[in-house]
Structures are given as C-alpha cells and as structure tokens.
C-alpha cells in the first residue's frame, strides 16, 4: 500500500505493445509515482566533507523526490489512504508549499481538484508552481484566527473549509494530525537511513515542522537502537524558514511524539541563511533555507559520531528570498 500502491499502478497506453517495461535498475519508469522513494529506491545521502570537516555528517537529499521535497512521502501516504473517501470532493490542505505541491501533483494524476491555504509569507515561487499544477491557492495571514489558532491562520482556514456546510464538499488531508504523515517516514525514510548507513547512524537531525519526519524516523531508529540520538531543529518566533515551525508562536502538531526526541537546537534565520549559502558554495548543494538551519543545528552539536541530517528541499523555490538576502548582505555576493 501507500508508496508501493502508487508504484504498482500500471499505465495503459496505445503504445503498450511496444512500450518498454519499468526497470528501476536503469531508471526507466512508466509513471512519475514510481519514482517515490523507499528502502530499495532511497533518496541519496551525501557527506558534507567541506563544511563538516572530519566529522561524518551526511545530508539526505530530499529534493530528489519526484515533486521536489520530503513532503512527497507524506502526501503519497495520506492521499493513498484518503482516495476511497474523496469521491468527487476537493482536497484541502494547509501548507507552506511543499506538501501542497506534492498533493496537487499526485491528486492531479487522479483527477482530484485541490485547494491550498498557504501563509502569506510563502515564497512566490511556490505559489506560482501551485497555480501551474491547477491548485486553488488561498493566501492566508498567520493572524487570521488569533484566539483559536494563533500563528496558524492557514491551518484554521483549511479546517474551516473542510468542516463548513456539513463537511460534504472537501476532504482535509490535515498533515499536522494525520498519522499517515508519521507512517511515511517510519516505513520509508527511517529504513532508508538505517540501510544507507549500514546501521551505524548515531545521530539524526531534522526540523520541527509538521513533525512527521522527526517522529517517524525517530521512532524507527529508536526501535533499532535506543541510544541513537534524535535532534530537532527549531527556528525562532517570527522566522522566515518555510516548512519549519517555532512552537513559541505555533501550536504543536498532534503527531509530534516528544518521547523520541533527545534534544532541541534553536537556530536563528541569519545562521540558517548563511549556512545555506555555505552549502551552495562549499558543497555544490543547492538547498533551501530549512536545510541551512538543520545543518547549522547538526554542526552545533560538535558530534564526531555518524550523523544524518535531512535536507527537506532545494533552493530553487526560494530564489526570491535569497535575492533579498544577497542584496542585504553585499559582502556575501561574491565572497568565494
């Protein structure tokens, strides 16, 4: 089921008699959903030899998922579970962009329309991409519902859309409360890391966001070896790191399991953006700003043990943010 559910989808075309069969070994597929990852077809991990020095710090490159981010996993799991009950309704989801992009792409393949409530501060690149995928995009102020869900206006709006008029018109994937978000990482990301490190991973670092990654991977790795350290990176209130959450201003998601987390490292925007540029320039890794925060958090541990950190997405969707950053930091324009 779930990822394999999509991978096993067969595509019938008029050219079927002459079509080559799907063969992952030579990276030949019949359907984009067959590119979704699992332990047999993982996203890569790459050692950060220049920014981490002698430390064995590996970055798991989640932008190489078919729809461009780690959220492809949760979206595939949530959608495959909800497919039977959608039945002519629209999907609605609150998202800073990546979950929505994956959902819009996957739902589009099933002919399901999608409405997205997205924080007003999300980068224009994501809002445009969502429209290109045919999603209805509702840009939402964070303070839309200050009493009930302070700082989470997009979630409040998605919930209201899903529940209004008897809840007959929409299905809410609700990534912040949906256990399939955790299962996706427990069943794919965690086993991939375990296998890719030959069971030698000692520390895992991911960001606080929906908390599907940290809870799912953390739970899986703790089951393999309870001494593996699980570290969460949390931004400051008022941050500009899409996908990450500061629980000083946002509610903790229902799916967060704090029992699997050993340590929380707080990283400010300046550190995160500077580290993102380091990764571009020193490692050739064109990552998004949340990756900069997570790598900065991993480096702050000063941990010699084998560490795997998550790179949730690429920097391509944040060009407008980095345009401003470079203008504000002229010394970094060409400092390499």
């Amino acid at each position: 089921m779930r990822v394999s559910f999509f991978r096993e989808q067969t595509v019938t075309t008029v050219f079927e008699s002459t079509t080559l069969k799907t063969d992952p070994l030579v990276r030949r597929f019949d359907d984009v959903r067959q590119l979704l990852p699992d332990a047999d077809q993982p996203t890569p991990i790459v050692r950060l030899g220049r920014t981490a020095g002698a430390r064995a710090l590996y970055l798991k490159l989640e932008w190489l998922n078919p729809f461009g981010s780690i959220k492809d996993r949760a979206a595939a799991y949530m959608l495959s579970e909800l497919l039977p009950e959608i039945a002519g309704r629209r999907l609605v989801e609150a998202s800073s962009g990546n979950t929505a992009l994956a959902l819009a792409a996957l739902a589009g393949l099933e002919g399901i329309p999608v409405t997205v409530t997205i924080p007003e501060g999300a980068p224009i690149e994501k809002r445009v991409l969502l429209r290109m995928l045919g999603a209805e995009v509702l840009e939402t102020p964070d303070d839309l519902c200050p009493v009930d869900l302070p700082g989470d206006g997009a979630i409040a709006l998605a919930r209201a859309i899903a529940r209004s008029r008897g809840g007959e018109d929409y299905v809410w994937t609700d990534q912040y409360s949906n256990s399939a978000n955790v299962s996706a990482h427990y069943e794919t990301t965690g086993p991939e890391i375990w296998r890719q490190t030959q069971g030698q991973v000692r520390t895992f670092v991911a960001g606080f966001g929906t908390c599907g990654t940290i809870t799912g991977v953390g739970r899986f790795l703790k089951e393999q070896d309870p001494s593996i350290r699980i570290v969460a990176v949390e931004p400051n209130a008022g941050h500009r790191l899409p996908g990450l959450k500061s629980f000083a201003e946002a509610s903790e998601p229902e799916i967060l399991d704090r029992t699997v987390i050993d340590q929380v490292v707080r990283i400010d925007d300046e550190t995160a953006y500077a580290k993102t540029l380091d990764l571009f320039r020193q490692e050739g890794l064109m990552v998004g700003p949340s990756t900069g925060a997570i790598v900065a958090g991993a480096l702050a541990l000063d941990d010699p043990a084998l560490t795997v950190a998550i790179s949730p997405d690429s920097g391509f969707k944040y060009a407008s943010f980095f345009s401003q950053y470079l203008d504000q930091h002229p010394q970094r324009k060409d400092d390499q």
């Binding site: 200050p146 009930d148 209201a160 209004s164």
Partner: protein
C-alpha cells in the same frame, strides 16, 4: 432598523465556520472602493468577535452589527 442601511455589496457566508467569513469578508473589502459598504451575513457566532476585530485591524468602520440568533448581520464601510 439596520435593514434600511444602504450597502454596495452583500456577502452571505451562512453555513461557513470561522475564520472563513473573516477571510471572505476581507477579500470582498479589498475589492471595494473607499467609502463603499459591505453587508455581511454569517451564521457562526464567533463572527460577533471576529468581524469587529477585522474591521478594526483593517481600518474599516463597523457601521452596525445585529445578532439575530442563528444569523448575524454586519455593515462595514471600507476605510481609507
């Protein structure tokens, strides 16, 4: 009495839960020109707090509000 207040546009959000009425009212008010009046109908009692707060936050003027039990009516003049 408020039924006689003039308005330029009506938005009926009956059946919609907060904050949807706030969101949709904000969208309509963005479209109106300064001085025009929106008559808003809601059925979520949370609107009795949310809509006055919306008007204050935006710099619009809440001309009148009427709680009819299952329905709430608001007249909002777009500010400058």
């Amino acid at each position: 009495m408020t039924d006689t207040l003039a308005h330029d546009e009506i938005l009926d959000t009956s059946g919609l839960l907060c904050p949807l009425p706030v969101y949709q009212a904000g969208q309509v008010l963005n479209r109106l020109t300064n001085g025009q009046v929106l008559r808003l109908v809601t059925s979520d009692r949370g609107s009795l707090q949310d809509i006055p707060a919306l008007a204050r936050q935006r710099g619009d003027e809440l001309l009148a509000a009427e709680d009819q039990g299952t329905t709430q009516l608001f007249w909002i003049r777009k500010g400058s």
